[in-house]
């Protein structure tokens, strides 16, 4: 599992960590009952305050995505993982919001954005190396 955060991202860091873990669960890079990195380890790796990681784990636990085994750490919940429809929708929603925000910033409408996405996809499928990306 790879967790990256972006200090300049508008989302709070604990939210970014939550989103990253949700993403990993949806993608299946972590399976049910897999351990999450320890708070100390993840905080150190991301150079963030351990309390922030703690907060992210706490919120995830409240959402039922992970569970805590006393003295052993935090684990992915059995029913929280596996790319269920609900999680996939959530993830898609996250990506969409990001894209929409960027579109609005550039004065684009939703229709223009959707059209551009379809165009990009066509080009991508023709040549994945240069398509889509600028």
């Amino acid at each position: 599992m790879l967790i990256t955060i972006d200090a300049s991202d508008a989302r709070a860091i604990y939210v970014q960590i939550m989103d990253e873990i949700k993403r990993a669960v949806v993608l299946g890079t972590v399976k049910p009952d897999d351990p999450l990195p320890s708070v100390r380890h993840l905080a150190s790796e991301l150079r963030v305050n351990p309390n922030t990681v703690q907060q992210a784990y706490r919120e995830l636990e409240r959402d039922g995505l992970v569970y805590v085994r006393r003295g052993q750490g935090t684990f992915v919940a059995p029913d929280g993982a596996g790319g269920t429809a609900r999680e996939r929708r959530q993830l898609a929603g996250m990506v969409a919001t990001k894209a929409l925000r960027e579109a609005y910033r550039n004065g684009l409408t939703v229709e223009e954005l959707m059209e551009a996405i379809r165009d990009a996809e066509t080009r991508w499928s023709e040549d994945p190396n240069t398509g889509g990306a600028r």
């Binding site: 955060i5 200090a7 300049s8 508008a10 709070a12 860091i13 708070v39 100390r40 905080a43 150190s44 790796e45 991301l46 150079r47 963030v48 305050n49 351990p50 309390n51 922030t52 925000r101 609005y104 910033r105």
Partner: protein
């Protein structure tokens, strides 16, 4: 809607608390009524331009400098009457790279330093020396600035103090070592639950660590608040407006910073988002989006705040504004 950026934190048993600290050097005023509160376990980022009084504040906390007026308490101890006790509980990274004996080899200096600290963890010190790639057989005075600062970081940390006072901790460090230092600080918090006070003007470096912000300018804290409050109340509103639009009076006095010009502008405003958006809309602006600020952006905005802008908050607030803050 008047500007009410908090300059006070109410905490039970703060790790650091100062009241009315004042200090002048000759005619230059370094501190002018500094009231600072650092909660237990906080990573408090003290930001301010050079000469704002950051170094003086940290030195007063260790009783290296005596304030002309006011008092300071550290972990419940008075800094003047219990200076030695306070220093025993603190790890201090001084601003000056020459704090230490230049004629000693690094290892000798660490040994000497250790003998004064009851909780010195030699194994941990060795580990830090390795992580920070400190050459321990070189004379301290022969080290480059970055190397000397790394040695000082070991000296500040190896007794695992409950309070760390770091004066420009990344100053002089190369990018790799800066990154390592931040990881070490994160570990320190995780292992000890220590309180950190980090003085810096490079806030982006401690973006991930900081959870409290103190904005010090001209010897006074212009703002002091926790990060969540900052996220909630200080936001950037990107607006589409008519050419020459003058804004809304109620919002205008809470604008911390204006960027952009003409039809597209971004205002950094202090206040409750819903309320601000409503007023902006009512005044004829189209609100494109609203973003919270990073710690760095918030620090820059608050530092750029006009000098007398937040004075309003320091005077007895009229009833109307009081209600607003709740």
């Amino acid at each position: 809607m008047s500007l009410m950026i908090p300059t006070e934190l109410s905490v039970i048993e703060p790790a650091v608390e100062t009241a009315g600290l004042a200090k002048r050097y000759g005619r230059r005023v370094a501190l002018d009524g500094m009231d600072m509160t650092v909660p237990q376990g906080a990573v408090y980022v003290l930001v301010g331009p050079n000469g704002a009084g950051k170094t003086t504040t940290l030195r007063i906390l260790l009783d290296l400098v005596r304030a002309d007026a006011g008092r300071a308490g550290v972990l419940g101890l008075d800094t003047v009457s219990a200076g030695a006790e306070v220093r025993a509980h603190c790890g201090y990274l001084p601003e000056r790279q020459d704090a230490g004996y230049g004629w000693m080899k690094v290892q000798q200096l660490l040994d000497h330093h250790a003998r004064f600290r009851s909780n010195w963890d030699a194994a941990y010190a060795t580990q830090l020396v390795e992580r920070l790639e400190v050459r321990d057989h070189t004379k301290f005075g022969k080290l480059s600035k970055g190397e000397a600062r790394r040695v000082q970081l070991v000296m500040a940390l190896a007794h695992r103090p409950p309070l760390l006072l770091l004066d420009e901790p990344t100053d002089g460090l190369d990018p790799v070592m800066r990154d390592e230092a931040l990881a070490i600080l994160s570990d320190h918090v995780a292992d000890t639950g220590a309180t950190l006070v980090i003085s810096t003007h490079l806030v982006y470096e401690v973006e991930g660590l900081g959870d409290h912000l103190g904005v010090l300018k001209e010897g006074v804290l212009r703002a002091q608040l926790d990060r969540e409050t900052l996220r909630q109340r200080l936001r950037r509103y990107t607006l589409e407006v008519a050419e020459g639009w003058e804004g809304v009076p109620e919002v205008n006095e809470s604008i911390i910073r204006r960027t952009g010009s003409g039809r597209e502008v971004a205002w950094t405003v202090w206040g409750e988002e819903g309320e601000v958006v409503e007023r902006l809309k009512a005044g004829g602006a189209t609100v494109r989006h609203v973003d919270p600020l990073t710690l760095e952006e918030a620090a820059v905005a608050l530092l750029a705040m006009r000098e007398n802008q937040n004075r309003i908050a320091r005077e007895p607030a009229p009833a109307a504004t009081q209600a607003e803050v709740r």
